[in-house]
Amino acid sequence: MKDNLLIQILLLFAPLSFLTIGGGQSIVADVQRQTVNVHHWMTDSQFLNLFAVARLTPGPNSLLVTLVGWQVAGWGGAILASLAIFGPSSLLVYALAKLWERHNGALWQKAVEMGLAPVAAGMILASVFVLLRSMQGGLLAWAVALISGTVLLFTRISPFILLGGGALVFLCLRH
């Protein structure tokens, strides 16, 4: 049963490894759909807890996937999930780094860079709205996310201040 679970984790995240275009943000929507709706490994709010911890702690935010693995199947799950999400794409990029050096400035290089950009942008924004839709916070959550996003766009403020501010706003208005 446990082995089965580990294999499921591997099969779930390895293909997603190739889809983490942009930041790790682009796959959040799908990780949520698979773990909550398809596999029923956790509830929406459990998932959001993992998301928050992944954002709070330093390092790549895709460590969300590591945490999902840990929550579902302990250390084995964490290690397998990390290997699955970072491994395949890393090997691909390693191969491409070599290729890139050889064909510097080719037309196809620019086409791939240009072509992936709008797809990544659409994915990142969709992930944002999928997350907000699944949040229990309602209008307040949308407002905090919008304000924090806007502030970050126009200032060089530390994100930590905004995370603290979000916590404070929720504490004052919902407690």
């Binding site: 190739f18 590591t66 797809v119 924004l125 924090s148």
Partner: protein, 192 residues
């Protein structure tokens, strides 16, 4: 700033590469990681020229994989070929992984309290704002003409409104978009 000739003069050892990436992995709270890496590798340590770093960044963003992990591989590869790339990724991911799991296990104990959940919801909402501003920046950069804007909107609607699986959406949209970009670039070259 022309620092091209600096490259190659400083060849850090594998252990040094590992330590520097660990430092980045453990101090990079909340995002903006690539800017931080640029400061560390270009300005502080001069392991790379600005041009080298930026072309690496473009590659890391354009290709599948997590940006910062891709960038670590690219820089690590430049510093120490295959082994360099490996220690760079391990340094960035593994220590941060232990921290995340550690924080989370404290979290699940605190999660029983009502206040914790409220605070957490506020933090999550603000953290979604980080993704939002990144999405807006990415959109702004990508929205150069009608075709990329259309591709962006279709991708968004397919995932958010129609709730289609990501794999499907990307497998359709990426080839279309890359082909469109290729044709656009080729026409531009022909026109010249």
């Amino acid at each position: 700033m022309d620092s091209t000739e600096l490259t190659g003069t400083t060849q850090p050892g594998l252990f040094k590469i590992f330590i520097v990436f660990t430092k980045i992995g453990l101090t990079s709270f909340g995002g903006g990681l690539s800017g931080w890496m640029m400061l560390e590798f270009v300005r502080n340590r001069r392991w790379l020229s600005e041009t080298e770093f930026l072309s690496g960044l473009a590659l890391a963003q354009a290709f599948p994989g997590v940006n910062v992990v891709n960038l670590a591989i690219w820089i690590g590869y430049r510093m120490g070929k295959g082994p360099g790339a490996l220690v760079a990724v391990l340094g960035m991911v593994v220590p941060a992984m232990f921290v995340a799991i550690g924080v989370f296990s404290i979290y699940s104990k605190l999660a029983r309290f009502h206040v914790t959940n409220i605070l957490l919801a506020g933090i999550v909402a603000a953290a979604i704002g980080l993704s939002l501003q990144m999405g807006v920046r990415a959109a702004r950069r990508a929205a150069s003409s009608v075709v990329p804007i259309a591709i962006m909107v279709i991708t968004f609607v397919a995932i958010f409104a129609f709730r289609l699986p990501l794999v499907l959406v990307v497998c359709v949209m990426a080839p279309v978009s890359i082909t469109a970009a290729y044709l656009r670039l080729r026409n531009k070259t022909v026109a010249k």
